[in-house]
Amino acid sequence: MSILDNISEMLQKGKAKDVQAMVQQAMEEGLAPKDILEKGLLAGMGIIGRKFKNNEIFVPEVLIAARAMNKGVEILKPRLMADGMEERGTVVLGAVKGDLHDIGKNLVKMMMEGKGLKVIDLGVDIKCEEFIRAAKENHANIIACAALLTTTMEEMKVVVEETKKAGLQDVKIMIGGAPVTQEYADLIGADAYGKDAASAADIALEMCAG
């Protein structure tokens, strides 16, 4: 088994320390940081995403795998930046104003990062203007809004409308959360609806790829 396969396997088991050590070792052996990222870390997260979709693994396993990936990325990041490697896209993510629930949002973040996307996580209870400001500052491709409550999901409509008014025509809006449906996304004019965290990450990657 190659070291990249080992990185993927340890990541899938959520072994953050092992992932860190193997990423370091791979760099010392002269492997390209881009390969370590794509064929080791992101490959492992890809398998995690598929298994999650198929009910082979569950939320805790995704969270610890994503944490292991982030530990590996921390080591790679200076080299990736020095090599001028660009992210596959940037997503500004948050739970909308009034909504304090974050586990779904956190899962989406981890799944998106697992696709090589840069995620600006604004947190919970995020006002419309904060989404727009962060999208401008980070030249985001996507604003992703989460909501768990039927009352707060109505804020998503405000985000869609205000983003258009702010002139961010190229920024796509995607929405998700327990009470949200494709019909609701269509109704408020959102560009995409993520049924679950893994699907949201797939859709975001597609939208960033253009």
């Binding site: 959520g14 009910n55 693994i57 569950f58 939320v59 805790p60 396993e61 969270l63 610890i64 944490r67 009034g98 304090l100 629930h101 974050d102 586990i103 956190n106 409550l149 039927t150 009352t151 707060t152 327990a178 009470p179 949200v180 449906t181 019909e183 609701y184």
Partner: protein, 333 residues
């Protein structure tokens, strides 16, 4: 009113025309003209709300509020209130092992738990034509609010001993809380354990079910029924859930109920699962009728199926949609 709840379950299984049992409480604020904020702080208003719903709808039982912040608040969690939204726990209060060790088990009655007990006491005197159930949080869901939901998921792997300390304390409190409901006249409880729906079967077997079982063993009697509610993706967890041995399961709309019914023995009543958000809150009377018809078409042939909402019906759900639900159900009875 004391009732034979074992017989109630048997009657429900045998009945050709089963009554529905939606988790319907908060929309009752619209009948009595109060805000959710006022109601969650006042047991008398809660009882009035339950009465208003019982007067209007012919349900199999009356349910108190499903407010999953009450127990965590009693432990000391900060809670955010809103005029017409169910309260939400704001932040975790357990960051490490020491916090878990010093966590005090609150006295039953502290915080707003006293108001929820009062609601059952009052309602048990005024609603006498059907059983009354109190809503209670499950142990893992409570521990998740105390620790933080994302953190507890990872701590199941990293720091299982911390999770178990908190689970023990949550369990001890929940048992006492349920016993108090029993004394006030409840005929049973609906225990909401949604956070366990995010776990793998093996983690559920380690971090939720032993505690749920302990609670059930402590409180369930011939006259007091334990209903288990989980609105997560329960299909991969069905065997674990069935192993709890409860007589009534209430499942959410994250699953196709027919898939669950296929796997659940016929002696267990399975309630569910019209979407609270998609139909009750955002749907229309027409879409509701279609949803009810579709659910009966897929599940109506199972004798242990009882139609219900998939979870708690949101406070601002239009009454027209709720009325349409009952009309559509009635058409199938």
């Amino acid at each position: 009113m004391k009732r034979d709840m074992e017989q109630w379950v048997e009657n429900m299984l045998r009945a050709e025309n089963k009554k529905t049992m939606p988790i319907l409480s908060f929309p009752g604020t619209q009948f009595i003209g109060v805000t959710v904020d006022a109601m969650v702080r006042d047991g008398a208003l809660q009882a009035k709300c339950m009465e208003a719903i019982a007067d209007r709808y012919d349900t199999a039982a009356s349910l108190s509020l499903m407010d999953l912040s009450v127990e965590a608040e009693a432990f000391g969690s900060p809670v955010k209130y809103a005029e017409n939204e169910v309260p939400t726990v704001l932040a975790s209060i357990i960051k490490d092992a020491q916090d878990a060790e010093i966590l005090q088990i609150p006295a039953v009655g502290c915080g707003r738990t006293g108001e929820y007990l009062k609601a059952i006491e009052y309602a048990s005197h005024t609603i006498t034509d059907r059983p009354i159930f109190a809503g209670v949080i499950g142990p893992f869901s409570l521990a998740g609010r105390l620790i933080d939901m994302t953190e507890i998921m990872m701590q199941c792997y990293d720091e299982p001993e911390i999770v178990k300390i908190v689970l023990d304390k949550a369990t001890e409190f929940i048992i006492k809380y349920i016993e108090a409901f029993k004394e006030k006249g409840a005929n049973g409880i609906v225990m909401a354990e949604p956070a366990a729906g995010l776990l793998s079967p093996s983690l559920m077997a380690e971090f939720s079910n032993p505690y749920v079982r302990k609670i059930r063993d402590a409180v369930e009697t011939k006259n007091f029924l334990f209903i288990y509610h989980n609105c997560g993706n329960t299909i991969p967890l069905i065997e674990e859930i069935v192993s709890l041995g409860v007589r009534v399961l209430h499942l959410g709309n994250a699953v196709q109920l027919q898939d669950a019914l296929e796997k659940i023995p016929e002696h267990i009543v399975v309630m569910g699962n019209i979407s609270p958000a998609e139909q009750f809150r955002q749907g229309s009377p027409e879409s509701m009728t279609k949803a009810v018809d579709a659910l009966f078409a897929s599940c109506g042939r199972y004798k242990n199926f009882v139609i219900s909402s998939g979870c708690d019906i949101p406070p601002a759900s239009p009454i027209g949609n709720i009325d349409a639900y009952f009309r559509a159900v009635e058409a199938h009875r």
